[in-house]
């Protein structure tokens, strides 16, 4: 059976997970482990006038209680946002100070003011309850539009009016003129609901200080251990990089929430030095709801203009983005360069203008969550298309087709240059698979049972393969977004690949090995993937933004190119042939057209014995590469959702969900389909179930799985997943990325379907039975 590109290979990493032998951060326990518990603000906004730790300190087994004054006194720096956005008036964004432990003021429920280090976790938690904090409660605000309205509580002194930035993209005057001349203008107001990522493994950290070497080791639940080390070192001044090892072992899902560097990791590292103990912190789910960065939370109004033939002439968008109480690591980029740059959708639109205001509120910080900005863009564009089609009495697929980009490359007015795609092919494939032709009969059948049936489309596009370093640098990114790889051929011919990507469910140990096994025609088990440890692996940027295929695997290909070149030289020298005649196949390195050959392992051995190498060749067989992508990649596709609504109760059943995606080259269809399934389930969660709720005092109402509705097995259908692919011209494997598409493309398909069924367009996410029932009643 083939194990190469395109093969449905069973995952190499599965055995440890299905037998309970996975090693996650919370499974790490050091000798004489100490435990951290944080003292967190119960108030959304308050001055901290004093902290009395005496009762906690007096408890047996409490090692220390540490606070923010001590932390900043020791020179630990503030948490920063790594992407600088400039307002349209030229001013820099207003970033407020964020100390890992608050010093004088708390700004959201959950903000940490102190940490207890104790002999057991239970004891640390009890002692944290005994810390008395003198709070002077201040007025608080949770909603972004209220935070920006005059008179709201001021959250950071250096952000007047709670405004972080007021940014725009596109030509406002040209867009206004286009809308003024439009034959039809559709107006839409949408809210993109606030979500909690909820990776099933709660975040955790185990920090150990070695006083002999002045060295720290941190096990942590991270999607990007090198970025974590860099930030902990360069910005928080915890330790120089060479004195800090970050290990992200098995990580139980991320979805963006484990990209960021949080107060807890910083505090555990510092506390391990202060107490000279290994310090461990494991979040519980309640703590996760008040500390893991939330996602989405946009309020948007938009207008789209069409000419008489149904061609889009202009698109004008105004968005308020809720950032929470502090600016998390990549927060600023999400509603700007990851959102507004995708507002052209799959369509040829000459005039687009988008204005974004970012607001501080007294809520958990908001940052990237699966899709990050692109789901918000897709939801707006695809709700807009469906709404416009209904208003103009056109078939929604005809309206889309009439506006599809047909020629590539295509430069949009909002930065992105689409490189390849065939949007019509995905729409056709999805329509055929969903049996759209038979919908009318199914609808009639449902009506016979008193049910309302609806069909909804979403033709999404997103940008991933993040990202060309110089391009993102020019847009304000504080880092480059290349990826690294090292391919090590051992003297016996087996191979280790050291990758800067990180797997937290994506199956890299399998797919990365597949491309290597195929390239050198070796058994899959001869290839091992090493990742997640800064002491083992060269600097890398980690996994997010669906980048591990298009960027991470490209780096491996570049390193393999170099390995192959050296293999050819060695074999040509040993076999006394021309390099051009060397072929690598079947575990052998051969001279084409002859019976001269050496085993792959013999080439490896030759490289390391160095007894007979070409003159001037260095011994060894290991090559590294840093790959910087030439462009973003543009996965696209069409999703079709079919629902049946019970008008008596508002209960909505997704009876069919069909996906046609263009991901470019697919390495392992099992894994790609799995990514689509999971992404769609998260999108259905957003569309129908999930919502972070704050009350008017900015108290979190949805603080556990009793209140926050996670999609369960019975909430989602089986999915009908298909591929119609074009090759990405900008990376060596032709890959586009598949990790986020499901979560990006599905929410508008669901809402378009439900609104089609109930015959009313006025429905917000999440479309709970109550919301659907209310919409039905309101339309009566």
């Amino acid at each position: 059976m083939s194990t190469g590109i395109g093969a449905r290979v069973q995952r190499k990493e599965d055995k440890r997970y299905i037998t309970g032998k996975g090693k996650y951060t919370d499974d790490v326990r050091n000798e004489s482990q100490a435990y951290a518990a944080f003292v967190r603000s119960p108030h959304a906004h308050a001055n901290v006038n004093g902290i009395d730790t005496s009762a906690a300190m007096a408890m047996d087994g409490v090692i220390d209680v540490l606070n923010g004054q001590q932390l900043t006194g020791d020179g630990i720096g503030n948490i920063i946002c790594g992407w600088a956005i400039t307002s349209k008036d030229g001013s820099p964004m207003n970033m407020g100070a964020w100390s890992a432990l608050a010093t004088s003021k708390v700004r959201y429920v959950g903000d940490a003011v102190a940490v207890v280090i104790a002999e057991t976790q239970a004891l640390a938690r009890i002692a944290a309850e005994a810390v008395e904090v003198d709070y002077e409660v201040l007025p608080a605000v949770a909603a972004s539009d209220k935070a920006l309205a005059g008179g709201a509580a001021l959250i950071h002194d250096n952000a007047p009016g709670n405004l972080i930035y007021d940014w725009e993209i596109g030509d406002g005057a040209a867009t206004d003129a286009a809308l003024a001349g439009a034959a039809h203008v559709t107006e839409l107001a949408v809210t993109n609901n606030r979500l909690s990522p909820n990776a099933m493994e709660p975040r955790a950290a185990v920090a150990t200080f070695d006083e002999c070497d002045d060295h720290y080791t941190l096990y942590t639940t991270s999607q990007n251990p090198h970025v974590a080390r860099l930030v902990l070192s360069a910005f928080y001044q915890v330790a120089p990089e060479n004195k800090l090892r970050v290990i992200a072992p098995d990580v139980g899902g991320g979805f963006g929430s484990k990209i960021f560097i949080y107060p807890e990791e910083i505090t555990c590292l510092w506390a391990s030095m202060k107490t000279n103990r290994s310090v461990k912190w494991t979040s519980d789910r309640s703590e996760a709801f008040i500390t893991d960065a939330h996602g989405r939370d946009h309020i948007t109004t938009a207008k789209m203009g069409f000419d008489a033939a149904g061609k889009i002439v202009g698109f004008k968008v105004d968005t308020i983005a809720n950032f929470g109480a502090y600016m998390s690591l990549f927060s600023s980029s999400v509603p700007t360069y990851l959102y507004a740059t995708l507002l052209s959708g799959q369509y040829n639109i000459e005039n687009i203008h988008c204005n974004v205001r970012a607001a501080y509120t007294n809520t958990v910080p908001v940052d990237a969550y699966r899709g990050a900005g692109r789901p918000e863009a897709c939801f707006l564009v695809e709700r807009m298309m469906e709404t416009a089609a209904r208003e103009m009495g056109k078939d929604p697929t005809d309206l889309r087709r009439a506006n599809f980009v047909q020629e590539f490359p295509h430069q949009t007015p909002v930065i992105m240059a689409y490189d390849a795609g065939d949007f019509g092919a995905n729409l056709d494939q999805a329509m055929a698979a969903a049996d759209v032709a038979g919908f009318a009969a199914r609808k009639a059948e449902s009506a016979g049972r008193g049910k309302l049936r609806g069909l909804g489309y979403s033709s999404y596009i997103e940008a991933c393969g993040i990202a060309p370093s110089a391009a993102v640098g020019s847009l304000g990114a504080g880092v480059g977004l290349w990826e690294s790889a090292e391919v090590r051929v051992n003297p016996v011919g087996t191979i280790e690949v050291l990758t800067g990507s990180h797997s937290h469910g994506q199956g890299h140990e399998t797919t990365f090995a597949q491309i290597v096994a195929e390239r050198f025609d070796l058994p899959l088990e001869n290839v091992s993937i090493v990742h997640g440890d800064t002491d083992k692996v060269q600097f890398g940027m980690g996994t997010y933004g669906s980048r591990s295929g298009a960027v991470g695997m490209s780096a491996i290909v570049k390193a393999m190119d170099k390995v192959e070149a050296k293999v050819r030289k060695i074999a040509a020298h040993v076999l006394e042939a021309s390099e051009d005649d060397i072929v690598i196949e079947g575990g052998q390195v051969k001279v084409a057209g002859t019976d001269k050959a050496m085993g792959w392992h013999e080439v490896g051995l030759s490289a390391y014995t160095a007894h007979n190498l070409p003159p001037d060749m260095e011994p060894g067989l290991k090559e590294g590469a840093f790959y910087d992508p030439a462009n973003f990649t543009f996965p696209a596709g069409t999703y079709i959702c079919e629902v049946e609504v019970d008008p008596e109760t508002g209960v909505t059943d997704i009876v069919q969900f069909t996906a046609s995606d263009d991901f470019g080259t697919i390495i392992n269809p099992n894994i790609v389909e799995g990514q689509v399934h999971g992404g769609i389930a998260q999108g259905i969660g957003q569309a129908m179930l999930e919502q972070v709720v704050y009350d008017d005092d900015a108290q979190l109402v949805t603080g556990s799985y009793m209140d926050y509705a996670m999609p369960r097995a019975s909430d989602v259908p089986s999915f009908s997943v298909h591929h119609a692919s074009t090759t990405c011209p900008n990376n060596p494997l032709g890959m586009k990325g598949c990790g986020e598409a499901g979560a990006i493309g599905s929410p508008p398909a669901v809402i378009n379907a439900i609104t089609d069924a109930i015959g009313s367009n006025d429905l917000a996410m999440p479309a709970t039975p109550q919301a659907v029932w209310n919409a039905i009643q309101a339309a009566k």
């Binding site: 099933m200 309640s286 097995a713």
Partner: protein
């Protein structure tokens, strides 16, 4: 402190533990069987499911002391060497991604199949989805988990 004695994965164990020790803590912290995971604090996610006297139980919501004398099986002890058909089916059907929910999913599913077989009831895809109400997976969208359970049910 209480002395808790039970049989875990076929081995007799006995430990002095605080009275309030949960079975999940007993397994993870006292026996260092870390295959049993804890994903929530409200008994909702099922990452912690083990078998107690042959039945699926959420170990995060059970006091260890209440199980004195019980037979406990965790993911580590599900198969006697090799893989249980359910474990096999999860990997063959790509029913796991990050693996965090997987031990609980597998233990719940084994119990589910056993119950349906004992009652002579047909385990449909819809029934599987309903039976998984207490297990949350954030990665797979459940599609391949349902396939895995159907597959294993045919082989168990």
């Amino acid at each position: 402190m209480t002395n808790v004695s039970m049989t875990v994965n076929g081995k007799a164990v006995s430990r002095e533990v605080p009275d309030e020790t949960l079975l999940s803590e007993f397994l993870r912290e006292h026996l260092r069987l870390t295959g049993t995971h804890v994903g929530c604090d409200t008994s909702q996610c099922g990452a912690c499911v083990v078998h107690v006297n042959g039945k699926a139980v959420k170990s995060c919501s059970t006091l260890a002391a209440s199980l004195d004398g019980s037979q406990v099986t965790t993911i580590e002890g599900l198969a006697n060497g090799g893989l249980h058909p359910m474990q096999q089916a999860f990997t063959e059907n790509h029913g796991l991604q990050c693996g965090f929910c997987t031990p609980g999913m597998i233990m719940t599913s084994v119990d589910m199949v056993n119950r349906y077989k004992a009652d002579g009831k047909e385990l449909t895809a819809q029934a599987i989805r309903g039976e998984l109400a207490g297990n949350i997976c954030r990665c797979t969208g459940y599609h391949n988990i349902v396939k895995a359970v159907e597959d294993a049910a045919a082989k168990m």
